[in-house]
C-alpha cells in the first residue's frame, strides 16, 4: 500500500496550520487595542458573506476564468439568508434552500 502521499499531506499541513494558528497563538494578538478588536468582530459577517457569494455566484468559464453564475442555487442561498434575517432560524433556511434545489433538479429545472 502506497504511503507516499502522506508526505504531501504533511507539507500541506505545514502551509495550512500556520494560517490557522498564528493569530490564535501569537502574543501580540493577546493584547489588542479596542479598535483592532472592533475590526475583528466585523470579520465574521464579511468573510462568511464573501465565502457564500464566491461559492454560489462564481463559476469557471470555458477558459477556466471566473464567470458570474446566476442560477436557482443563488436564489436558494438568498432565500436562506432572508429566512434567517426574518425568523432567526438557520435550520429552516437550510431546509427550504435544499428542498427547493432538490425539487427543481428532480423536475429538471435546476
Amino acid at each position: 500500500m502506497s504511503l507516499e502521499l502522506v508526505g504531501l499531506a504533511l507539507l500541506m499541513l505545514a502551509v495550512t496550520y500556520p494560517a490557522r494558528a498564528i493569530p490564535l497563538l501569537a502574543p501580540r494578538f493577546e493584547r489588542l487595542p479596542p479598535l483592532a478588536l472592533d475590526y475583528l468582530r466585523l470579520v465574521g459577517p464579511a468573510v462568511l458573506g464573501a465565502i457564500a457569494v464566491s461559492d454560489v455566484l462564481v463559476g469557471a468559464g470555458a477558459d477556466s476564468r471566473p464567470v458570474l453564475v446566476v442560477g436557482w442555487e443563488s436564489v436558494a442561498v438568498a432565500l436562506c439568508a432572508a429566512l434567517v434575517a426574518w425568523r432567526r432560524n438557520l435550520a429552516l433556511g437550510l431546509l427550504v434552500a435544499v428542498a427547493l434545489i432538490a425539487v427543481l433538479r428532480a423536475v429538471g429545472i435546476a
Partner: protein
C-alpha cells in the same frame, strides 16, 4: 448544525471517491482528511495529483487556498485569547469554514466564548463527519446517492450566508457584510474566488469600522 453535518458528510463521501479515483491508497486518503483537514484544498490537491502536478505546485496552491484561515483565527482571538496556549494550538488545527462560522455565531449569541461549544462544532460537526464520510466514500461511495442530486451542494453557501446574516447586530455589521460581499464578488470575477474571499474579508470590516456604532 445538522445541515452542516449533512453537507460535510456528503462532500466527505465525494472526497473519498475522488481520492480513490486519483489513485490514493486508503491510508493516504485518511491522512489527507485528518492531517490537512481542509476540504477545498484536499479536492484541489487530489485533482492535481491525478493530473501529475509537482508537489511544490500543490503545496503552493494549498497555501493560497487556506490563507483565509488567518482571518478566521484572527477573528476568534477576542473570544479565545484567554484559553491556555496548548488548547488554542489544538483548536487551530480543527479551524475550518464551518467550525469558524458555527462557533462565532454561538459565541455572539451567548456573549462569551463557550469552549465546549467550539469543540462540538469543530469536532462533532466537522472533523468526525468529514473523516468518517471520507472513509465511507473510499470504501463504498459508488453506492451512495450523489449529494448534488440531493441539493446538498447548496447547504455550504446557504449556511455561510445564513450565518453571516445571523452575525448582523448593527449598522457596522451590515456595512461590513454588504461591502465585504461586493468586494469579494468583484475580486472573484476579476482575479480568483480565493482572492475575493480574502479581499472581502479584510476590506469589508475596515469599511464597516468607518460607520458610527448607532
Amino acid at each position: 448544525m445538522v445541515g452542516i453535518v449533512a453537507s460535510v458528510a456528503g462532500f466527505g463521501i465525494v472526497f473519498g471517491l475522488t481520492a480513490r479515483g486519483a489513485g490514493f491508497s486508503i491510508v493516504e486518503t485518511v491522512a489527507f482528511s485528518t492531517i490537512v483537514f481542509a476540504g477545498s484544498a484536499q479536492f484541489a490537491a487530489a485533482g492535481m495529483v491525478a493530473a501529475g502536478f509537482a508537489w511544490p505546485q500543490i503545496v503552493l496552491l494549498t497555501g493560497l487556498i487556506n490563507a483565509r484561515h488567518l482571518l478566521y483565527s484572527a477573528a476568534l482571538v477576542p473570544w479565545l485569547r484567554r484559553r491556555p496556549r496548548p488548547e488554542r494550538a489544538a483548536m487551530a488545527h480543527v479551524l475550518t469554514d464551518e467550525a469558524f462560522a458555527l462557533s462565532l455565531v454561538h459565541f455572539h449569541r451567548l456573549g462569551f466564548a463557550d469552549r465546549p461549544g467550539y469543540w462540538l462544532a469543530a469536532i462533532g460537526g466537522v472533523f468526525v463527519p468529514w473523516n468518517l464520510a471520507t472513509l465511507a466514500g473510499y470504501l463504498g461511495g459508488q453506492a451512495v446517492a450523489d449529494p448534488v442530486t440531493l441539493g446538498l451542494d447548496v447547504v455550504f453557501p446557504a449556511a455561510m450566508a445564513g450565518l453571516a446574516v445571523g452575525l448582523v447586530t448593527g449598522r457596522r455589521e451590515v456595512v461590513a457584510l454588504v461591502t465585504g460581499v461586493s468586494i469579494a464578488l468583484a475580486a472573484a470575477l476579476t482575479v480568483d474566488p480565493w482572492v475575493g474571499i480574502a479581499a472581502g474579508g479584510v476590506l469589508g470590516p475596515a469599511i464597516g469600522l468607518l460607520m458610527p456604532r448607532r
